[in-house]
Each structure stands twice: as structure tokens, then as C-alpha cells.
């Protein structure tokens, strides 16, 4: 069993008692909600005659169903409008802060909570969304929950949970030029598997992680769940503290010194023990792209799609399903595969540095004929910062559409979706069958820079060839 890790320390601080079932009663510091997984939870509260115990520890936004061409009300889609107005009335009835449409703090829940300084080291954070693992980048223990648990957290600011094991993923070296956090995390999932993390919290550590910005760190923790780990985290350091200083909900200047002292005390001890440890080298990672129907079915851009014989026998039937669904031939190259749609955005890669990396690729170039390419900033704050740097103009001049913030085509609950068998280059997190809104649409996951390169050439392209030209 692990001891002395940040996970152990934060767990112990929030552990209330062991329940009769043997699981732990865990206090939740910050609860984030949105329009998709909360309405049934509020309905259940009403049915049981319960109140929200600590409304100031829940924060709401709207992201999944938001159209990205206009935020004008009422929304064209009456079901989407109903979900949004239900969230608005629930927040107003129970006294919960909502960063809704029209607010300059609205955006994807996993983008706004960090940028507003709501997400802080040492917290337990829960949200009815599996990508809540994102917040672990700050040294919080953050995980996705279902709607029944959303109801429990609203009613009691707590839930039942069993303690996870901790696997330390140590990354030596540095990412090469043109290689991004997304490539690193796809590489990790490819090697550890999509269920390798079940039962574990992932601690990402080592020289490579320490060198990354907060936005890059969030990309990695965001996709811990794609590797099966409900929770991924990193130890907070000077980069974390610098990011947090001065944000709207960060500790005040008066409390800053005390906050720093407490945050530093939470870092995993040098003598900490882990349930498992693995090591990777960032120097050896190339731009990485998925070819199949799970995020683990990924290859380096210069590799060939694996043949069934090259795979573990347990992975073969899923690979066969993927070849057929994707219409990809085993042993073929992924580079050069024709693309229909390019999507830059999502809670994985919809932050300012993601848009900057993509803009650096498209500047002076133009989207290939027949390709639909669009950029959806992760939040209003991201959109404003990007516009202040003229990134919107760069993208528009290159033939991209510049949209309003939301989850958009990551899961296509709004009007942005693939049609028929279209194939997308996407900076999002899931390439599941039907994920982007068409039952037979196809998704290739990659970094925003790689999506930009695919948009320019109309086909999967090693972004390093564009950057050197």
C-alpha cells in the first residue's frame, strides 16, 4: 500500500470515517457541476426532500450542449435550452454560483475552474464528468462521478469511495520540438493500456513533467481516465504557484504565504512508497496519432498501423473491429491519410497555449480545399486572451472558423458533428465509435499542432515537416 504520497496526504485530510460497507466517507472540497449530469441529481434531492448542504462549495457552468456559432437565447435546440434553463433554475433555487452563457467566466468546466483559481493544490474535487482528472495537475485529488454521487455531494458535500493504489509514472528527458503533452499522454496510454490504470491513481513525475507548463500538465492529467485511472495528479511546484497567483478565486495576497506553506507540505515525500512504478523517456516520443477506436490504439506518426500478429492476443479482436470500422489496413502508414474535418478545442487541448501551438503551424498557410476546420476556445477567458494576441485573425486568414467556447465536437452534444463516415483530426480525448456525433464517423486523436498540420495538408502530416520549412 502507498504511503507518504500526495494522494495519501490529501486522502487522509478528507477522510471522515470508514463506513459499514468498508468504503471510506470522503469529504469533497470543491464540487463542479454542469447541465448534463446534474438535472437528475437535483430532481432526486427534491424527491427526497433534501437541501444542498454547503452551496458555496459547488460551482456551475454550462458547456456540453452550448452551440458554438452563437450563444443567443433561447437556444435553437429546445432540448438544449431545457437543460440550460433547468441548470439556471436549480442554481438559483439552491444558491449555487453559475458561470453561465453571457458571463466572461463561462467555458468548459475543466478549463474554467483552473483559470479562475478555483482548482487548488490539496483539494478533493468531484464533478459529474470523467475528465475531472484534469484538476490533478495542481496536486488536487480530482475524479469523475455519476449522477447519484452528484446528488450525494450536493446533499452532504461528501461521498463513499475506496482508496486507490498509486502508480508513479516517471518521465525522464524532455519533449522534442513539435512533440507536445498530448503526444506524451497518448504514448503512455498506448504502452500502459486503456485499462492499465483501473484501481490506480496515476502520479506523473520526473524531469519532463517538472519542465511542463500548467496547461501541458492539465492535458496529461485530463487523459489519465483514458488509461483507466480515475484520478491522475502531479506534485505542485513553483510553476503551479506562479500560475495560481492573482487569479480571481486564488488565495488572497494576505493568505498567500500560508497557502504556499501548506501546499508545499502536501508534496509526495522523497521516501514515499508506491504500489507500482514505471518509467518512460520523453526524448524517444514522436508526434502520436490514434488509428483505432480506443485512445490506446495509437502509433507514432512514423510508425505503421500494427498487424494482428504484432499485437497481444487479447487485443486482436478489438483491433479487427477497429480496422473494419476505421477502414484502415493493418501495416499501412497513418501519415498521408485523408482528413475531412479538423477540430481544435476540448478540455484536453482548448487552452491558450494549445491555440498558440496550432496558430504557429497555420500562420501563412491555408486549410486544404474540401477540409472543414474550426477552432473552439475552451472558455471565454481563453477566447479573449487569444483574440488579444490576434490568434482569431490568424486562424480565420488560414481558412479556419473561429467559434464560441464549449465542448463542441469532442462529444457532439451541440450542432457541431461529423456527417456519415467523415474522418476527423481532433485535439479531443476520445475516438470511440460514434463519439463525434455520427454513428459511423471516424476520429483520429492528436495534438492541436498536428491537427493544424492535417488541416493545411488535408491529410495526416508530421507537424515537424511544416515547422522546419
Amino acid at each position: 500500500m502507498s504511503s507518504g504520497t500526495l494522494y495519501d496526504k490529501v486522502w487522509n485530510l478528507h477522510r471522515l470515517r470508514e463506513l459499514s460497507s468498508g468504503s471510506t466517507h470522503l469529504f469533497i472540497g470543491l464540487h463542479l457541476i454542469h447541465e448534463v449530469t446534474s438535472p437528475q441529481a437535483f430532481a432526486a434531492l427534491k424527491e427526497k426532500g433534501l437541501q444542498v448542504l454547503f452551496p458555496d462549495q459547488t460551482v456551475a457552468t454550462v458547456d456540453h450542449i452550448v452551440p458554438t456559432t452563437t450563444h443567443q437565447r433561447p437556444l435553437d435546440d429546445s432540448l438544449a435550452e431545457e437543460m440550460l434553463s433547468t441548470l439556471e433554475s436549480n442554481c438559483s433555487e439552491y444558491g449555487i454560483t453559475l458561470h453561465g452563457l453571457g458571463s466572461n467566466m463561462q467555458g468548459i468546466v475543466h478549463v474554467i475552474a483552473p483559470e479562475l483559481g478555483l482548482t487548488q493544490p490539496g483539494m478533493t474535487i468531484a464533478c459529474g464528468d470523467s475528465h475531472t482528472s484534469t484538476h490533478g495537475a495542481f496536486g488536487a485529488i480530482a475524479f469523475g462521478i455519476g449522477t447519484s454521487q452528484v446528488r450525494d455531494v450536493l446533499a452532504s458535500q461528501s461521498l463513499t469511495m475506496s482508496k486507490l493504489k498509486v502508480r508513479r509514472i516517471w518521465i525522464e528527458g524532455q519533449l522534442n520540438k513539435g512533440v507536445h503533452a498530448k503526444d506524451l499522454v497518448l504514448h503512455l496510454i498506448k504502452h500502459l493500456g486503456v485499462k492499465g490504470g483501473v484501481g490506480y491513481a496515476y502520479e506523473f513525475a520526473g524531469p519532463c513533467i517538472q519542465s511542463l507548463s500548467m496547461e501541458e500538465r492539465m492535458t496529461i492529467c485530463n487523459m489519465a481516465i483514458e488509461g483507466g485511472a480515475r484520478c491522475g495528479y502531479m506534485n505542485p511546484d513553483e510553476i503551479t504557484f506562479k500560475y495560481l497567483q492573482g487569479r480571481p478565486f486564488s488565495p488572497s495576497a494576505k493568505d498567500w504565504g500560508k497557502a504556499l506553506k501548506w501546499w508545499r507540505s502536501l508534496v509526495s515525500d522523497p521516501t514515499a512508497t508506491y504500489d507500482d512504478e514505471v518509467c518512460f523517456n520523453a526524448d524517444q516520443i514522436s508526434p502520436t496519432v490514434t488509428w483505432g477506436i480506443t485512445p490506446g490504439q495509437a502509433i507514432a506518426i512514423d510508425e505503421k498501423v500494427p498487424t494482428p500478429e504484432a499485437l497481444d492476443p487479447n487485443e486482436r479482436s478489438l483491433a479487427e473491429e477497429a480496422y473494419k470500422y476505421m477502414d484502415i489496413v493493418p501495416g499501412s502508414t497513418i501519415s498521408g491519410l485523408k482528413i475531412d474535418v479538423c477540430f481544435i478545442g476540448s478540455c484536453t487541448n482548448g487552452r491558450l497555449s494549445d491555440l498558440q501551438a496550432a496558430a504557429n503551424v497555420v500562420r501563412g498557410n491555408h486549410v486544404a480545399p474540401g477540409v472543414k476546420a474550426f477552432v473552439v476556445p475552451g472558455s471565454e477567458q481563453v477566447a479573449m486572451a487569444a483574440q488579444a494576441q490576434g490568434l482569431d485573425k490568424t486562424f480565420i486568414a488560414a481558412g479556419f472558423e473561429w467559434r464560441r467556447p464549449g465542448c463542441s465536437m469532442c462529444l457532439a452534444m451541440n450542432p457541431d458533428r461529423l456527417e456519415g463516415r467523415q474522418i476527423s483530426a481532433s485535439s479531443s480525448n476520445r475516438n470511440f465509435k460514434g463519439r463525434q456525433g455520427s454513428a459511423n464517423g471516424r476520429t483520429l486523436l492528436m495534438s492541436p499542432a498536428m491537427v493544424a498540420a492535417a488541416a493545411i495538408n488535408g491529410k495526416v502530416t508530421d507537424v515537424r515537416t511544416i515547422l522546419t520549412n
Binding site: S20, G22, M161
Partner: protein, 206 residues
């Protein structure tokens, strides 16, 4: 259809149904477009919607002989991906009251338990045999005994594994955790008063 789970759950009786394949994600179980709802009530008819459409009537959930089944037999990492409780809700509202599989994704597993739906574990070999016998003899009646951790039919008895905590919660009927959590009001108030980040870090010496 069976009533939705309530109170103590010790056995689940009924026909079984098999869905084969590893890593079946919750987008497959219930595609995102069906999440546009403020109630779970209508999800039963939409379970596996895209897979069923593609298989044009031959999907297990559309086979006449398997209608009314209550025990779902699956392979590895079932329910991975999105945390949407809509997935177990859709299965439950179609009629599923228990799952048996090689392994389950964690959030999905917790969502099932919160609805009173046990997820029991067995080996790859045993699961394959169970799936084969379900598809060969769909009319077979099964009994899942939570306490004994067994699945029983006229074909014999097979041992399963059910996590001890889940087993206890189901048998005692306290899988719906809300009231037990609220019983600890004092603990909750103390935690709120103790955690540094909720109290301007006042107990930390600078």
C-alpha cells in the same frame, strides 16, 4: 418489466443476455445525443442505439428470445470512458438488474452500485462459457446469489467474485448512500471548519 431496485438485494433471477467484446465504452451503451434530457425515464429504449441500428435487428438487445433478460454477461473493461450514469440507467431501464464480466471500468462500476446493480467478476474462460450457454439456450433461467457469490441454473453452479463492500451494501440495502452520509453531520461540519483552503489557511503558521 421488473421494478427498479429498492432496499436489500440478495438474489437476481431471470434470463441472461450476452454482449461480447472488450473495452465497450459508455458512448456505445448510450450515445451522447440521448444525454439531452433532464430525466432518465426514457433511456431504456435507447440503450446501444447505434450498435443496434448497425446490426439491423440481430443485436442481442433486439433478439426476441432475449427480451426481458435481467443479467448481462460482458467481457473486459466494460463501461469505460465517460462517467455518464445514463449508461447504467439505460441498461437498468431496459431491464438489466445485474452484470457479470471479466472486469469493469471504475466509474461505471460505482454508478451501477449506486443504483443497486451488482457487477460480479469472473475469469475470461468462465465468462466465455457463460456467454456461449446464454446464446445457445436463451430461455435458461439464472439466479445470481449475492451472498454466495454464485450464478446458478439447471446447467450447474458457477462461482463469481463480488467485492465485499458492494456485497454488504446490497445485502443490507444501504447501497443508496445518501442517508448514511447525512447521518455524519458533525463530521461534515468539522471537516469544513478544519480544511485550510476553506478557512483562509488560518491554522497555518506563516
Amino acid at each position: 418489466m421488473n421494478k427498479l431496485p429498492k432496499g436489500a438485494i440478495t438474489t437476481i433471477r431471470g434470463k441472461a443476455i450476452a454482449i461480447k467484446g472488450n473495452d465497450i465504452d459508455t458512448d456505445r451503451i448510450i450515445p451522447a445525443r440521448f444525454l439531452k434530457c433532464v430525466s432518465f425515464d426514457d433511456l431504456g429504449g435507447q440503450v446501444f442505439a447505434d450498435d443496434r441500428k448497425e446490426q439491423n435487428g440481430s443485436h442481442p438487445f433486439d433478439l426476441k428470445a432475449l427480451q426481458g433478460a435481467s443479467i448481462l454477461i460482458v467481457n473486459g473493461n466494460f463501461g469505460c470512458g465517460s462517467s455518464r450514469e445514463h449508461a447504467p440507467q439505460a441498461l437498468m431501464r431496459w431491464g438489466i438488474r445485474a452484470l457479470i464480466g471479466e472486469s469493469f471500468a471504475e466509474i461505471f462500476y460505482g454508478n451501477c452500485l449506486a443504483l443497486g446493480i451488482p457487477c460480479a467478476i469472473s475469469t475470461q474462460k468462465e465468462i466465455k462459457e457463460l456467454q456461449d450457454s446464454v446464446m445457445q439456450t436463451p430461455s435458461l433461467e439464472w439466479t445470481l446469489d449475492i451472498k454466495k457469490e454464485q450464478i446458478i441454473s439447471t446447467c450447474g453452479t458457477r462461482n463469481l467474485r463480488i467485492d465485499q463492500g458492494a456485497q454488504e451494501m446490497l445485502i443490507k440495502g444501504n447501497w443508496d448512500a445518501t442517508s448514511e452520509l447525512l447521518d455524519q453531520k458533525e463530521d461534515l461540519n468539522q471537516a469544513r471548519a478544519r480544511l485550510p483552503y476553506l478557512n483562509n489557511f488560518k491554522a497555518i503558521e506563516s
